[in-house]
């Protein structure tokens, strides 16, 4: 977990969106790919399950809904299991 970088989180976002029925790749936008407010509820719930509570704040998702931006938000907000300073 500690070594997750944005690319691997992005791979998780793409896989999860596909599981939710959206045909996305790394360059897609969540809402423009057919994501609805309900798909958002699901994506947020799954992000929290995998990366901890508040891992993907809804305000972030609704402001910047590119797949890359979603991955960046999770990287910023996920609970740091290994929080030793660099």
């Amino acid at each position: 977990m500690a070594n997750d970088d944005i690319d691997s989180i992005q791979a998780w976002v793409v896989a999860t969106c596909r599981d939710l029925g959206l045909s996305v790749d790394a360059g897609s936008d969540f809402f423009r790919s057919g994501g609805s407010s309900l798909t958002a509820v699901k994506l947020i719930a799954r992000a929290e399950e995998s990366f901890g509570e508040d891992a993907l704040p809804p305000e972030d998702l609704f402001t910047d809904s590119g797949i890359r931006e979603i991955a960046e938000s999770i990287a910023r907000n996920r609970q740091q299991v290994d929080s030793s300073p660099a």
């Binding site: 596909r18 939710l20 029925g21 959206l22 309900l38 509820v41 509570e53 809804p58």
Partner: protein, 520 residues
């Protein structure tokens, strides 16, 4: 006026369905009067909870009276329509209460709706004044309106305004999709709100009830969430934040001991899929808005047990809920989940070819009783088409023709069977496909358009449009976003060179849907 005939079997099943629904309620009282009564008898009781903030009935009343005083000084008069655009918060409830205390009418709207839509809605409703928590941006968008800041509290007159509000006065107007391209305003009387929440059959509503306010205020479930608590001496817990998050939902209902929650069918299914126990602490979950999914209902029933989940049904024209069906045991898999029996002070008839239906026979759901809207604002023809006086056994009753199809089981329980037109429900939003099609063909590059609902691989219902156009789907999306609220903009917009026709010469929906690129 229409005379309806009924066979003995039809008469019997209608009598069974409507038995016991007429109960005494304060049909001469306004929302203002009943709320102010609650303040006098229990002013110290908690009325609102929002985050860390609590307001008693007395505090809420004083805040609403101060804002009402401001509105009255600004010229607001009984019967005026006041737009409300305030984030879900205590201030929002204060604003609604202040408006009804003036004898005025609240018209909730969402800032994400395009200017063109607001212009049309406000024109229909005759609205030229708004109360908001974002006065700057709205004043720029609505230059013809008087824009009042909800947080303004000039003066300290916290006494109840001396305005007489009658039960037949209009309390609010909700707008709903209209098939001809014009949204329809549905005005609701004070007595209809009282009818919804007084002596409710579908859920216990009293001074121990804690209702979650989760719905957007533009959606009429909010009528139940707010007034169901505040006219019964209960507590209204306001869901914090704009967007629903299941972890937050779970936390809020536990922290504030919420007893009663309404979820749209789509959100209910999402909860069941992702975190079935999110509402494990509540007494009653009401859910409705679309046809229910039996697998989701089955899983929820197994988790929550009998009697805690209630399926509810009702169009805006009959004030939020018209029928209810508590889930008491496993549902037979061979028929849809029933929408049940009428709630208190509501009657239902199934009509087909000028007669009442027999058990098992499909007909149009017609609703009657004090929950009915007086008719669409400024649309006499549409009103006359949908709200019709009928004579059954010598008794005249005003029916609202819902356009929903259903049949009665022998016991008088109603089972939903779809629509008789192309109105659809997506995520609880009622959408006339005709209105979306109308907006699409309003674009100069669009020669032909077809709009439908497509069920995604994961069971989500997506509004899907096909257009014959030289433009791009992005351009069409931008066009639609300028004239329709976001929930009416299709999730999928596909450009085609032509639309396939079926053997009957109609657009071949199946062929179009099967041409969609398979989703990964």
């Amino acid at each position: 006026m229409k005379r309806l005939t009924a066979s003995p079997g039809a008469r019997a099943v209608h009598a069974a369905a409507n038995a016991g629904t007429s109960v005494p309620f304060p049909s001469d009282s306004s929302v203002k009067e009943l709320f102010e009564q609650r303040v006098r008898t229990g002013g110290g009781t908690t009325a609102l909870v929002h985050g860390d903030r609590r307001m008693t009935y007395a505090e809420l009343n004083a805040a609403a009276n101060r804002l009402a005083g401001h509105l009255l000084r600004q010229g607001c008069r009984r019967g005026d329509v006041v737009g409300v655009c305030v984030r879900r918060s205590s201030e929002l409830v204060v604003a609604l209460l202040a408006i009804v205390k003036c004898g005025a009418v609240y018209l909730p709207f969402d800032p994400s709706w395009p200017d063109e839509r607001l212009l049309v809605m406000f024109g229909i409703a005759g609205c030229d004044r708004v109360v908001t928590d974002q006065p700057g941006p709205l004043a720029a968008r609505l230059p013809w309106c008087q824009v009042l800041d909800v947080s303004t509290a000039d003066g300290d007159d916290s006494a109840d305004p001396e305005v007489t509000v009658r039960a037949a006065d209009i309390a609010y107007i909700n707008f709903t999709s209209g098939s001809t391209g014009r949204p329809k305003g549905v005005p609701i009387e004070h007595r209809s709100v009282v009818r919804l929440v007084h002596d409710a059959r579908f859920a216990r509503l009293d001074d121990r009830t804690v209702v979650l306010f989760l719905a957007p205020v533009t959606f009429d479930a909010a009528t139940f969430e707010i007034w169901g608590a505040l006219l019964n001496g209960g507590t209204c817990v306001i869901y914090p934040g704009t967007f629903v998050r299941l972890s937050e939902l779970r936390r809020v209902v536990r922290q504030h001991a919420v007893s009663t929650v309404f979820l749209t069918t789509a959100l209910f299914n999402t909860m069941v899929d992702e975190d079935v126990d999110a509402l494990g602490s509540v007494d009653v979950i009401l859910t409705g808005g679309e046809a229910h999914s039996l697998p989701h209902i089955g899983k929820a029933l197994a988790h929550y047990g009998a009697g805690r989940i209630v399926s509810v049904y009702g169009p805006t024209e009959c004030t939020t809920f018209a029928t209810y069906h508590p889930l008491t045991g496993p549902q037979p898999g061979d028929r849809p989940l029933p929408i049940g029996r009428p709630i208190q002070n509501t009657r239902v008839h199934l009509v087909r070819d000028d007669r009442l239906c027999e058990p098992g026979e499909t007909g149009e759901v017609c609703l009657s009783g004090p929950g009915l809207s007086p008719g669409y604002t400024g649309m006499p023809e549409e009103t006359a088409r949908r709200f019709v006086d009928h004579v059954v056994d010598g008794v005249t009753e005003r029916f609202y023709h819902t356009g929903d199809l259903a049949y009665f089981e022998a016991s008088g329980v109603l089972v939903f069977q779809g629509r008789d037109d192309d109105q659809v429900k997506i995520n609880g939003h009622r959408i006339e496909l005709g209105e979306v099609r109308h907006a699409l063909t309003g674009h100069p590059d669009v020669r032909q358009a077809f709009v439908t609902v497509h069920v995604s691989g994961t069971g989500e219902r997506l509004l899907t449009a096909f257009a014959v156009s030289d433009g791009t789907s992005e351009a069409l999306r931008d066009h639609l976003a300028r004239c329709l609220p976001p929930y009416m903009v299709p999730a999928v917009i596909e450009i085609r060179e032509s639309l396939p026709l079926s053997a009957h010469g109609k657009v071949d929906r199946e062929a179009l849907l099967s041409s969609l690129r398979p989703r990964l």
